[in-house]
């Protein structure tokens, strides 16, 4: 019963995402594609942050690794369809290597390790010109075709991103419903209890982190072909902060949280452009106010409304049937 309105919204949203884009102009379509890329990346981050309870501030680095991976693979004359899974796998492996030392200690250490990792990856992107083209980046990243069908056009490419996003969302949904996923949640809610029930805490957090990283890798691969130009700027630490912010603002540990959070992180700055130089100030202030008002994120609103209406019903019942003195 409780889940029903949420699913109605999800179905309506999917219909909009399927049917509206043909009527959008170039920039609208681009923004929507951009938003979907970030939905994928933050879905992965949500697994790490929301379900496994770790603070990761390096998601942009994985996004970048994915983007450069696809760009380099395609520049070598190989297929996008090789680069896309390779991005995911590469990020998974790097995630394991980074998470292993960091997750041995307190939760907050992963935040610092990922933050520093992001700085380091960014320096590599900027300095290793033989590999990444340095600050001038890699130009003319192509878009793939599929079964003889060209995905070169903006609309066709949008549908590819939508398809990948839906597939990854379904995978995540299945993962979270499996006993394996239940262990993630158990671990976030009470690590000590989970451990005493036989959940290997470090192994599970490490896996959650690596899977989250591989989502960013895939998102990065799609991003590279979306903007068709890869350079270090979008993968700066600041972008990692923004993604972390998207997850928490949307509602960490809720399945649809990243969908909403990415709206805030990607589209809100666009709407605030009228404020010109001040738009990021407005954005920062909006984020602070939102946290003060809704520390559990935007998806806390339905729960709040429900709690309020229940309280009102209870009050009405109490008024209608006064306790006998």
């Amino acid at each position: 019963m409780r889940m029903r309105p949420r699913w109605l919204v999800a179905i309506a949203g999917s219909a909009v995402l399927l049917l509206v884009p043909p009527f959008l102009k170039g920039y609208g379509l681009y923004l929507l594609s951009y938003w979907l890329v970030f939905v994928i990346a933050t879905m992965g981050l949500n697994l790490t942050v929301g379900y496994a309870g770790q603070a990761s501030l390096g998601q942009a680095a994985f996004l970048g690794i994915g983007a450069y991976c696809v760009a380099i693979v395609m520049k070598a004359g190989l297929s996008f369809w090789l680069g896309l899974p390779l991005s995911g796998v590469l990020c998974f492996v790097v995630g394991l290597a980074l998470g292993f030392p960091a997750l041995r200690v307190q939760a907050i250490y992963l935040a610092f390790a990922t933050l520093g990792f992001n700085v380091a990856v960014w320096l590599v992107m900027r300095n290793e010109e033989w590999l990444t083209g340095g600050t001038s980046g890699i130009n003319d990243v192509g878009r793939p075709g599929l079964f003889g069908l060209s995905l070169e056009g903006n609309l066709a490419y949008y549908y590819l991103i939508l398809a990948v996003a839906s597939l990854l969302a379904a995978l995540l949904w299945g993962l979270l419903r499996s006993p394996w996923g239940k262990a993630f949640t158990a671990l976030r809610d009470n690590p000590i209890r989970a451990e005493s029930l036989g959940v290997h805490v470090q192994a599970y957090t490490l896996l959650a982190f690596a899977i989250g990283a591989s989502y960013a890798g895939v998102a990065g691969a799609l991003f590279a072909s979306l903007v068709q130009f890869v350079e270090p700027t979008p993968f700066h630490v600041g972008a990692s902060f923004t993604m972390y912010l998207m997850v928490v603002v949307g509602g960490s540990g809720t399945f649809f949280g990243p969908v909403l959070g990415a709206v805030i992180g990607v589209l809100l700055p666009e709407w605030l452009r009228f404020a010109q130089g001040w738009y990021l100030v407005a954005f920062g202030v909006a984020v602070i106010l939102l946290m003060l008002w809704l520390p559990e994120g935007l998806l806390g609103i339905p729960d709040r409304l429900r709690a309020r209406s229940e309280a009102r019903d209870a009050a009405r019942d109490a008024a209608a049937h006064p306790e006998p003195p």
Partner: protein
């Protein structure tokens, strides 16, 4: 050899600044569980406040004192009341996000409202060089190191020798027991925020002449401060000092002898080594965690 010693001295100076910012960060974390991602901006803002006050005609020392008072009010009291207190019960994530939002707002506020260009900043120590044999040492480096050392030691003495400082430590260790013992916990937590604000002002005064006042100067400074705090061990002020100095010196030496381009990755490398080999920090002792 002369080069090496010069690099060592300037590394020590930079490191001691990291230590100052890292120390405030550690204090906040211990006293209130606040991870402040705007710590770098807490150094940037006083730098600009001092610039503005100097432009209004105040001498540097007066601008510094006025900035300290302002900082205690705004970055101490205001920050605590408006952001840290309301989010205290919500756990780690909301406070991290709120301070990230704060840092975005402050950084871009200064850029949009004041200037995006780096501003020169007067040095307390002048720009003399003096020679010790073949080694040329700048007065700025030596002065910075001495001032930062003095501040860290003074903070340490305040925390361990005075009744107020000990009460603050008691609150950091166990707020519930501290309340039972009759310590005014909210007041002690406020003192911590105030000390953090003053340390940030001091760091601003010392580092800005070298780094110039710029809206995004807090970015790398904040990160280095975190690393300094964690490498040292997150336990007391001596640890933050050690962490800061290790980061500062290694960074400077690596930039000169290994690769200037990867200077900013040095702190990460040390940090990863430390958590692999000695997760509680170089000087830290393992702490039993509360359930």
């Amino acid at each position: 050899m002369a080069d090496f010693l010069q690099l060592l001295v300037s590394g020590l100076a930079t490191g001691s600044i990291y230590a100052l910012a890292g120390l405030g960060f550690t204090l906040l974390w211990q006293a209130s569980g606040t991870i402040n991602f705007a710590q770098g901006e807490f150094v940037m803002l006083p730098a600009f406040a001092m610039l503005v006050l100097s432009a209004l005609g105040l001498p540097l020392w007066a601008a510094f004192v006025a900035t300290c008072i302002l900082a205690v009010a705004v970055l101490g009291w205001g920050f605590k009341r408006a952001i840290a207190d309301p989010l205290f019960k919500s756990g780690l994530m909301p406070i991290v996000v709120a301070t990230l939002g704060l840092s975005i707002a402050l950084r871009n506020g200064v850029r949009a409202g004041y200037t995006a260009e780096p501003q020169p900043f007067p040095s307390v120590f002048g720009d003399q060089l003096f020679h010790l044999g073949a080694v040329a040492v700048s007065l700025v480096d030596v002065g910075t190191l001495a001032a930062a050392l003095a501040l860290v030691l003074a903070t340490q003495a305040f925390l361990t020798r005075t009744v107020t400082g000990r009460a603050m430590q008691a609150v950091a260790q166990n707020a519930a027991s501290a309340t039972v013992l009759g310590i005014d916990v909210p007041r002690m937590v406020f003192y911590t925020f105030a000390v953090n604000a003053v340390l940030a002002c001091a760091a601003a005064l010392l580092i800005t002449p070298t780094y110039l006042a710029k809206f995004d100067m807090g970015e790398s400074l904040g990160t280095k401060a975190f690393f300094a705090a964690v490498i040292g061990g997150f336990n007391n002020s001596r640890d933050a000092l050690l962490g800061g100095i290790i980061v500062g010196v290694c960074e400077n030496l690596a930039a000169a002898y290994v690769s200037a381009a990867y200077k900013d990755a040095v702190a990460l490398a040390i940090f990863m080594l430390v958590i692999l080999l000695k997760p509680q920090g170089l000087l830290g002792k393992p702490v039993e965690r509360k359930v």
